[in-house]
């Protein structure tokens, strides 16, 4: 099972090899361009072009592959449990614990020792950026 899961998230070593070979060749082209600069400007220009395109492409592919792995993670949201004392109004907020449910009676109140009640369980979603449309 975990093997299957890791297979899904793993980047193929062949792809990685191609990316790194392209990156090395492109960097070599850039070094060659620097050395050729001064005595053969045309060749240096072409080598610069090849080098830059190669570096840009390999970096882009590498970043894309990394992003794919990051995207594959299932995010577990944080869930808040609110516990209230109906007698004195004392309120306590904590992380959700397995077994919690709305209207469950829990530990006694710290202030009046009366039984407390879970009154809310929810997750808060961060306010996303305002939508660009106005309708």
């Amino acid at each position: 099972m975990s093997k299957a899961s890791s297979q899904t998230t793993k980047i193929s070593s062949f792809v990685l090899m191609i990316i790194f070979v392209t990156l090395i060749l492109s960097l070599t082209a850039l070094v060659l361009a620097l050395q050729a600069f001064g005595h053969d400007d045309v060749a240096a220009g072409y080598l610069f072009l090849i080098g830059f395109i190669g570096v840009a492409l390999s970096t882009y592919v590498l970043l894309q592959t990394r992003r794919r792995i990051l995207r594959l993670k299932i995010v577990t949201p944080s869930i808040t449990t609110i516990i209230e004392c109906k007698k004195c109004g004392f309120k306590s907020v904590r992380e959700f614990q397995r077994g919690d449910y709305i209207f469950k009676e829990v530990e006694p109140c710290q202030k009046c020792s009366d039984k407390m009640l879970i009154t809310a369980i929810y997750r808060e979603v961060k306010e996303k950026e305002k939508e660009w449309y106005s309708f």
Binding site: M1, T8, Q35, A43, I74, P77, F103, A120, Y122, V125
Partner: protein
């Protein structure tokens, strides 16, 4: 050596005119696109589907892993539950024949009852130490894992079929619906943990409203898997109904409403149903709206039963809905939806005041999965 390489490049470049090469390249690309354009487009689409399929496989495997871990943790089985879980994930239900549609609802109800009983028995065998609430939660967890497994298999089927036949139309259709399918799969993925931990989900908005209304009043069990309480609201008697919590359960609200109508010999002034409903893009999560009709989803059996009962006694039916999208419906309840429960209660009271008179009897039904919501 470096100098030799530069000289060689310089020699090649001086002998070939760059303009000529560019022209030649342009013609080659043009001709290739004339003959192979569609095929290239198809490979691009296949690659896109392949990426999503990888993600679906990951989500499906995670779902299976979470289900097995939860069964081991809660159910404390003596044998390894992996084989049973794998068998469970492949379960299917054949819908009844509808060539002659008369009576198809009762046939469908029977099939669904058999399915439900079968799944519950399987879960009990897998997790012998689980109590009723945990059994319901485990059943929901496994059903979410089952849905993910099914989505993955269907997408894989069409992907491989498209690849085999190289049919642009199969691949194109698949690529076009993929964003919606992925959204649904991601929703089920977040539902898995909610079900496993017994957290309230967005679909439980209706059940939460009912739970808030019946809190502090005596409750009784009514068929099937439902809870009812008689609550005085604005001088009327309200029979508040919801599925029995806090385990993952939707109950048979149709049967519950029918029972209460029969107990009161049809003398019900109005029925108000509260449910979570699919919002349209652009609408706010937790928006409350009001209308008429039986607000209940699922295969349609409960809606049919409610409509039959109200037609027999000519009872008006109102609906209050809390809007949310598919992702919110099956993932842990958002604060906006939780807060909307109070707004929905206000709307219910307003409907009662406007549509009934003092001394009347009303039914308030909170529809939805009551996981993580007591009463």
């Amino acid at each position: 050596m470096v100098f030799e390489a530069v000289t060689l490049l310089d020699m090649i470049l001086t002998q070939i005119d760059i303009q000529q090469i560019l022209n030649m390249l342009f013609y080659i690309v043009f001709i290739v696109f004339i003959f192979y354009g569609q095929r290239i487009q198809m490979y691009v689409m296949l690659r896109e589907v392949e990426g999503s399929l990888f993600k679906l496989k990951y989500i499906k495997d995670e779902g299976r892993k979470i289900a097995i871990e939860t069964i081991r943790e809660i159910g404390k089985p003596q044998l390894d539950p992996t084989t049973r879980v794998d068998r469970f994930l492949e379960y299917f239900t054949i819908s009844p024949q509808s060539l002659d549609p008369a009576g198809v609802v009762w046939k469908l109800e029977h099939i669904l009852d058999v399915r439900d009983a079968r799944l519950k028995d399987e879960v009990k065998l897998m997790a012998p130490s689980a109590d009723e609430t945990q059994t319901n939660n485990l059943e929901n967890t496994l059903e979410a894992a089952m849905a993910l497994n099914y989505i993955y298999k269907v997408i894989r089927h069409y992907y491989l079929l498209g690849k085999k036949t190289l049919s642009l139309y199969i691949i194109m259709q698949l690529q076009m619906i993929l964003p919606l399918v992925m959204r649904e799969a991601e929703a089920y993925a977040s539902a898995l943990k909610a079900f496993a931990y017994g957290q309230p989900i967005g679909d439980g908005a209706g059940a939460l409203v009912a739970a808030k209304l019946m809190r502090g009043y005596e409750t009784r069990k009514i068929p099937k898997d439902c809870i009812a309480a008689s609550v005085p609201i604005e001088g009327r008697t309200a029979f508040v109904v919801k599925a029995e919590g806090p385990g993952g359960n939707v109950g048979k609200i149709g049967d519950a409403i029918k029972t209460i109508i029969e107990e009161n010999e049809g003398k019900i002034a109005t029925i108000i149903m509260i449910d979570a409903a699919m919002k349209l893009e652009g609408e706010d999560v937790g928006e409350v709206a009001e209308g008429v009709g039986a607000a209940i989803g699922g295969p349609g059996v409960d809606q049919f039963k409610i409509e039959e009962s109200i037609l027999k006694h000519r009872i008006p039916i109102n609906a209050v809905i809390i809007k949310e999208d598919i992702g919110d419906a099956v993932s842990p309840m958002r604060k906006e939806i939780f807060d909307a429960a109070d707004k929905a209660i206000e709307r219910v009271k307003q409907v009662i005041l406007e549509k009934t008179k003092e001394g009347d009897k009303v039914i308030i039904a909170g529809v939805g999965n009551t996981i993580g919501i007591g009463q």
